[in-house]
């Protein structure tokens, strides 16, 4: 395994928490892609890395867990399922399809503007650290920019969230969208800025 216990400790020691619902999307992704056997294998791998039993179905959907543990979950899944950046992005893309939190915001999926207005609220339902802010929306050129501040847990989130925001954009516009992280904290940027075009 490429992920070391030291890396995991650094991640788990980071400030901030992720809601249990986020882990549920990981569980559904594994089951969808590889089934129950693989799920058990991944749970064992995570358990070994964090030195305690780890079961996705024991996670409380409304509970709070170290944000670093979410990064560990994504990293172990990516390694176990042999996912490259495109595969990790796909995992993020599929997450809103099974996310309970997204369903709580269905009333805002009327237009991209509504979703744009509520992104901060949607983010706070998933993570206690970092803020997601609407930065710019351009109707004539059909694009919007989202700024993710103070959320620098691990670069894997940049890839994962690119897929996640892409799907949210598609659900809001009912159209195909493209996404690009035009500024990244891990690439000498101040924050993370995602540009969605439709």
């Amino acid at each position: 395994m490429n992920i070391t216990k030291e890396t995991v400790k650094t991640l788990i020691d980071q400030k901030g928490e992720a809601r249990g619902i986020a882990f549920q999307t990981d569980e559904k992704f594994i089951l969808f892609k590889k089934g129950a056997e693989k799920l058990g294998e991944i749970e064992s791998q995570i358990g070994l890395l964090i030195d305690e039993d780890f079961k996705y179905d024991k996670i409380d959907a409304s509970g709070f867990y170290p944000v670093g543990l979410r990064a560990v979950s994504i990293l172990v899944i990516a390694e176990s399922l042999d996912l490259d950046d495109s595969g990790i992005k796909d995992m993020g893309f599929l997450a809103p399809k099974t996310s309970m939190a997204i369903r709580l915001f269905t009333r805002y999926f009327l237009s991209i503007e509504k979703v744009f207005e509520k992104v901060a609220m949607i983010w706070s339902r998933h993570y206690t650290s970092g803020t997601l802010e609407p930065l710019e929306i351009n109707h004539s050129e059909n694009y919007l920019k989202l700024k993710l501040k103070d959320f620098n847990v691990h670069p894997v989130f940049c890839t994962y969230l690119s897929g996640y925001f892409k799907k949210i954009g598609e659900m809001a516009t009912k159209d195909k969208v493209t996404i690009e992280e035009i500024e990244c904290f891990f690439k000498e940027g101040k924050d993370h800025i995602f540009e969605i075009r439709w």
Partner: protein, 224 residues
């Protein structure tokens, strides 16, 4: 005070978890396919029954345009009218097969009166269609049997009528023969009566003639 609030939050969280479990069980159990659609027309939620009806899975449906499952005109009518109650339509399964369903739909509104999306309920009508077809089939078979039996009865009646006619003719012939015989018998009887009368008259004549030739009988002198 803080401890008390935390306890209340814990209780509320437990209540929400129980409620969520209850809704999930109900949502999973119902044999009616349910789709929750965003105000923009994107599928946000489906239940196992719906996935079974259209033979698809959550990942293939959620986040997709509602028209992937619901016919465009039905969706447009729901948006326009606010609801549809029990419309029979033919859907396409993911593999392209047709499936008859009864669709119900309703607009969801927020407490402020804004459209919060749409709900669609799909009732698999395959079984009902199959039963209807069976009834139709039975009806046709019954109609054929009734027609055959009617024909059979008609033929029997016709046959019977012919036989009755034949029998009547036979009886009429016999009757005529009897009448003829009767007439013959009666004629002969009359003739005999006539002959007897003639004979009687002839005997009387003979006696009378004999009386004229012999003297009248003297009872005081019978030898004379």
């Amino acid at each position: 005070m803080v401890g008390n609030s935390e306890k209340k939050i814990e209780i509320l969280k437990e209540d929400i978890a129980l409620l969520e479990e209850y809704v999930r069980d109900l949502f999973s159990f119902t044999p009616i396919g349910i789709i929750i659609v965003s105000p923009k027309g994107v599928i946000l939620e489906t239940n196992p029954a719906l996935e079974k009806i259209v033979e698809s899975d959550t990942y293939s449906l959620i986040g997709e345009p509602v028209e992937k499952v619901i016919p465009k005109d039905i969706y447009k009518e729901t948006v326009r009218e606010g609801e549809i109650s029990g419309r029979k339509v033919i859907l396409k399964k993911s593999r392209g097969d047709d499936i008859p369903v009864n669709i119900f739909s309703k607009e969801r509104k927020t407490s402020e009166g804004e459209t919060a999306g749409y709900l669609f309920a799909l009732l698999d009508a395959t079984e009902m269609e199959r039963m209807n077809e069976e009834i139709e089939e039975s009806k046709k078979v019954l109609e054929v049997r009734v027609a055959a039996r009617t024909q059979e009865l008609k033929e029997m009646a016709e046959n019977l009528e012919t036989q009755v006619k034949l029998r009547t003719t036979e009886l009429e012939d016999k009757l005529r023969e009897l009448e003829k015989m009767n007439k013959l018998m009666v004629g002969r009887e009359l003739k005999m009566i006539e002959v007897k009368e003639k004979l009687s008259r002839a005997e009387e004549e003979i006696i009378r003639l004999k009386g004229e030739k012999e003297p009248a009988f003297d009872k005081n002198n019978p030898d004379k």
